[in-house]
């Protein structure tokens, strides 16, 4: 979760939201993800909801390489059908 100070991320649920952030009025539209203080999220009620970004699986480079794939039985490590040692897939 992306945190800055006591702020948390929230998703805007209403069509248009005008809210003061750090003393400045800002406008947002439905679906926007914004940083808000926790207390503000509570005060805004169902106009916003806490947003948790979807978890992204971290790729293990070792497993992506031919050795890793070979270990999974997907490609041959070297030779015909394999890739030169040390070359990493991106």
């Amino acid at each position: 979760m992306n945190r800055s100070g006591d702020k948390v991320q929230a998703r805007v649920n209403v069509l248009i939201l005008a809210v003061e952030i750090d003393g400045v009025e800002k406008r947002f539209r439905r679906g926007d993800i914004i940083d808000l203080p926790k207390t503000k999220i509570k005060q805004l009620g169902n106009s916003v909801s806490r947003y948790t970004p979807p978890a992204i699986e971290e790729d293990d480079e070792e497993d992506e390489g031919p050795e890793g794939l070979a270990a999974l039985g997907i490609v041959a490590a070297q030779g015909p059908g394999g890739e030169p040692p040390g070359k990493k897939r991106r």
């Binding site: 209403v14 069509l15 248009i16 939201l17 005008a18 809210v19 003061e20 009025e25 406008r27 005060q43 805004l44 009620g45 169902n46 106009s47």
Partner: protein
């Protein structure tokens, strides 16, 4: 006519008018004629987004999907409260020919009416956070959350202007609509009394901005920080209505004992708020009472 039927009929005649006087939710939106208590579920189209219209010198194809509407479905809630009257008191009224005192039933009716008001104005919730059926406030599509101090002259009009501006940007014809500003009692009295240092009241300006609409106090149905701009019932039907299935009425309870059992029943009504275009409801959600 037996005691129960007689009592129920008298209560019904005494109940409906007082409840119509105190009920505020129904006055804020167009209310349908009662559709029948047996209606337990209702569906309606909710306009999500209106795509651009077309301009041309002859009609062409390709403009059929002007309205992006999603079908919304809701159960129709029942608002109710039970009451009871001591049988000996009732028999005494009958014996003396005194008019039946409907105070208990009317008090029960007021409770049921307050619950209905809350459902229309705020919404129906079990946990205070998630709303099964949003009311005017919880279902509003626009939220003007800038801090609005109601003890500072000019802030109320700033807030109305700001909220109408947001709705205007959402393609609601705000300048053609009469608006009612539904506020909690604290806000209502602050707005009515505030004057600037020259003694000029802000209320006329507030009413002017509402295009002929009114400032409406709904007591404590909303929190002191919350309020909502609602199109007047006379023009608001395309945006929101109250689908009434049963008007206030009583249903008598069979006494436990034929001649000595207490007489009672329940007062109830049923209906659901249908928000068809959420952009036409604007929250002003950050009212404050400090300068």
């Amino acid at each position: 006519m037996n005691a129960l039927a007689e009592f129920s009929k008298k209560i019904d005649t005494k109940l409906v008018e007082p409840l119509r006087q105190v009920n505020k939710g129904r006055t804020l939106v167009y209310t349908t004629p009662p559709q029948g208590f047996e209606v337990s579920n209702v569906e309606w189209g909710k306009i999500i987004e209106m795509s651009e219209g077309m301009v041309s010198y002859s009609f062409t194809s390709g403009n059929k999907d002007q309205i992006d509407a999603s079908l919304t479905n809701s159960k129709v809630p029942v608002y109710w409260k039970e009451y009871e009257i001591d049988r000996r008191i009732f028999e005494s009224w009958k014996a003396r020919g005194t008019d039946v005192d409907a105070a208990n039933a009317i008090a029960a009716g007021y409770s049921a009416s307050r619950v209905e008001d809350s459902a229309i104005i705020n919404g129906i919730t079990k946990d205070g956070v998630n709303y099964d059926t949003p009311g005017l406030y919880q279902g509003a599509g626009v939220d003007y959350d800038t801090a609005t101090s109601l003890v500072t002259f000019g802030k109320a009009t700033d807030a109305i202007s700001g909220c109408l501006n947001l709705m205007d940007d959402a393609n609601v014809p705000v300048d053609r609509i009469k608006w009612n500003w539904v506020v909690p009692s604290d806000a209502y009295h602050k707005i009515r009394k505030i004057r600037n240092i020259q003694g000029i009241k802000e209320l006329p300006d507030v009413l002017d901005m509402l295009n002929g609409g009114e400032l409406v106090s709904i007591g404590t149905t909303l929190d002191t920080t919350q309020s909502v701009l609602v199109p007047d019932a006379s023009v608001g039907e395309p945006f929101v209505d109250y689908y009434l299935t049963a008007d206030f009425q009583t249903d008598p309870k069979t006494p436990e004992y034929q001649t000595t059992g207490n007489i009672g029943g329940r007062v109830f009504s049923a209906g659901v708020l249908r928000i068809k275009q959420e952009a036409a409801l604007g929250k002003i959600s950050n009212l404050t009472y400090v300068a």
